[in-house]
């Protein structure tokens, strides 16, 4: 049996070489998003990339089902989109509030967005101020008979009260000042603890240009700095050595330095949503809401609670705790 003939090998080589010569530019063009449109003209398409932490959501584009995002790779890449058009994204899942976004697609670019979908009904646990203790046995004396139940302060409630009163703002530090006075010949030391706002070094420039010391509720999450000013939330990208995240950039891919969440009713309190720097929890006299910073189309606003003017905190386990002046409630999303 003879080896492969030179003729066959040469033919195979040049055949594959031709595939390489023709295939490489096609493959590179395809990878850059070049496609033939309906008029058979070459256009450079764009795409949309949806980040998601949620499994098994249904993704729709312009009303058409795209995919169930599955369990493992939960992000969705939608490609081959004709550029310079806006596309409506709709993500839904039973039991969760839907997320909608209208995004404009640019040629050769992938427009990013991140889904956030809260449960339609959050399960709340109420922490009452008092507890009723049931006495196991009845103690009877000659003169009186003991009650079988007694009302005591609820320790969980007390703990939350302490948590609320002692919690500080993100950049607030306690400074102890000791003064000495003499009562007769005895020197008496008096220590006063003051709270003061101190920003880290990397935030100093922003702090001075935006007069952050004069603002209230200045918070930072993964490079996004927000504050409350006249009942509105201002947010900006503070890391000068890194490009701003996609949600700071508008539809023409130019990035804006600052967001403003400007509502009719004043925002009383806010904080970043757990593990997100693009969503904030906002409390007003209409209730408690989660709001996207991303304003490339109408912001998604999802209801957390319709109780007005709630005070709230998020503990280290990402549990949301609300307080309406009487009762504490907790939920774990």
């Amino acid at each position: 049996m003879k080896p492969l003939s030179r003729k066959f090998r040469r033919g195979l080589f040049w055949g594959l070489f031709a595939v390489f010569v023709v295939g490489t530019p096609i493959l590179i063009g395809y990878s850059q998003g070049y496609r033939l449109d309906d008029a058979l003209e070459l256009i450079q398409t764009g795409g949309i990339y949806i980040h998601s932490d949620l499994a098994n959501t249904n993704v729709f584009l312009n009303g058409e089902f795209v995919e169930d995002n599955g369990v493992l790779i939960r992000n969705t890449l939608i490609q081959d989109l004709t550029p310079n058009r806006s596309y409506e994204l709709w993500v839904e899942k039973e039991g969760l509030q839907s997320w909608v976004k209208i995004l404009r697609v640019q040629p050769n670019l992938v427009t990013e967005a991140r889904v956030f979908m809260l449960p339609e009904t959050l399960e709340w646990e109420t922490i009452p101020a008092t507890s009723t203790l049931r006495i196991a046995g009845t103690v009877t004396t000659a003169s009186t008979s003991a009650s079988s139940t007694t009302v005591v302060a609820n320790p969980a409630h007390v703990e939350l009260q302490t948590f609320f009163t002692s919690s500080r703002d993100q950049f607030e530090v306690e400074i102890a000042t000791t003064t000495y006075t003499y009562v007769g010949a005895v020197r008496v030391a008096t220590t006063t603890i003051l709270r003061e706002i101190q920003f880290p070094g990397w935030l100093e420039t922003l702090a001075s240009t935006s007069a952050l010391s004069d603002k209230t509720m200045v918070r930072e999450r993964d490079g996004v700095v927000a504050w409350l000013d006249n009942g509105n939330i201002h947010a900006t990208w503070a890391r000068t050595d890194e490009a701003a995240p996609y949600f700071f950039c508008n539809t023409t891919a130019t990035c804006t330095p600052e967001f403003l969440i400007d509502w009719e009713e004043p925002i009383e309190r806010y904080n970043f949503y757990p593990n997100r720097n693009d969503v904030v929890l906002v409390s007003t006299n209409r209730g408690l809401f989660a709001i996207e910073l991303d304003n490339r189309s109408q912001r998604n606003i999802q209801v957390v609670s319709d109780t007005p003017s709630l005070d709230f905190r998020i503990d280290t386990n990402d549990v949301l705790i609300t307080f309406d002046g009487t009762v504490f409630k907790t939920t774990s999303w």
């Binding site: 049996m1 003879k2 080896p3 492969l4 090998r9 195979l12 080589f13 594959l16 595939v19 390489f20 295939g23 490489t24 493959l27 590179i28 395809y30 990878s31 850059q32 998003g33 450079q44 398409t45 764009g46 795409g47 990339y49 890449l77 490609q79 050769n108 670019l109 992938v110 990013e112 890194e242 490009a243 996609y246 891919a253």
Partner: protein, 541 residues
Amino acid sequence: MYMPGYVPSSSLGFDSSIMDAVTVENSYRNSPYFHVAHARDLTGRDKLVYRLLEMLPGFLSWGTIITIIVLSINAPVVAAFFIIAFDLFWLLKTVYFSLHQRHNFRRLRHHKRQNWHEMLEPLKYEGIHHMVILPYYKESREIVEQAIESVETADYDRQRVILVLAAEERAGSEALEIGEAMLKKYKHTFGHMILTVHPPDLSGEIKGKGPNITWAAERTKEEVIDPHKIPYEDIIVSAFDIDTVVEPQYFLCLTWHFLTTEHPHKASFQPVPLYNNNIWDAPAVSRVAAFSSTFWQMIQQEREEKLTTFSSHAISFKALNEVGFWQKNMISDDSRIFWNLFMANDGDYRVVPISYPVSMDANLAPSLWQTMVNIYRQHLRWMWGQESIPYMLFGFMKNPRIPFKSKVFHTLVQIEGFWSLSTAPLIILLLGWLPLLLGGDAFRDTVLSYNLPFVTRNLMIVAMMGLILSAAIGLSLMPPMPERLKKKRLSRYLGASLQWLLVPFTIIIFGAIPGLHAQTRLMLGKYMGEFWVTPKHRKGS
């Protein structure tokens, strides 16, 4: 009908020494560069040129890697274009190689089934002697004896077999005792059998296989060939490793190829190395590494113009004698002998693939870790074969009688081969991600950035389809499972099929990294000074 290319000189009364005297005068083999091992063996400008040539393989591979890193940072789009083009190139190369591999597999099976007695009938081959050199170091008696027994039981007139057991004195008395015991047992089995003992620390030699087999060949010439007046032209020398086990018709097949090859003294003969002796005992990673080596040789067997000698090979004694046998001052004697002969014959030299298997040991050590260490060291030694690139290029500069076309061809083949071995797995499996990691936000937002991993992944999935072919061929080439392992028959076969999933790991750990390691050492002038003998271990030994 075919025309035999060679008539044994014994049937013509031909005196080879006359031709030797005529051709030796102007030959490159008499030049001071002929047996150069490294730049340090030269002086002046030659030394500088040779040194630069030693740096070339490492320069190309590191240059490629560094260029991709720099491009990924500064021009990620260009880096992505290169990676996509390279991935497609690799896929097409896989298709090209798979067709070669498949054909060679069919040829290998055909050659194993072929009745080589019948093939040899029309030829005068009674005068052809086979000289088999079995160099050994500290291997066990079991391994030495298995190699001798396979020669003994091979289908060839044993009276025309010269068996040379080549011991190393530095291996100690136990090794010599094994040799003497073998000599005593098999002396009368073969036409000639001698035990040679290579002395240690001879001037101009490294500790390695090359000096030992050259010593053995020279002693055999003095003690057997010349006294018995066996014409050099009529002797085919098979230079084996001590674990080489020949299949029954090896010598017949080799003889047929020798006799039907035009100018057989200007050719080496290359069997296909299998690693079947202990393949069922070897761990999956070792089996994959062993079969990868076999498959590469199978592919090369179908493109003989690119083939160089590797591991166990055969050459006529005449050709070997003309160049002073194997080089004694370097590690890669098996491939260097090809380049010695190529230079000595002014480019008129080739390797004839015989597509017939010989079997050796797959790497196996008492522990998996030690097995992996041994595979790495063995592959590092094989990759050190790149020391022949500067030798080849230097020879091309110094020998004007080699055709220019041939010089260009071999330069491209050798450099691309070693460059590809060292860099391709890294480009495909690791560096392909660099533009995404280093390309910055502007690149990360592009469609190209999102598509790069998908395109790479999909091309490689298609390329990996070749592994299905590899799995099938690998299973077909494996010997029957030993009786003692048949209780776990199913899991063993399953393991032998699924082992190919380790390929992305093995081509980096036992391909690219030892390749780069060898190139870097050569580039820095840190020459390997000693031949690392792969330990031979058998289960139960």
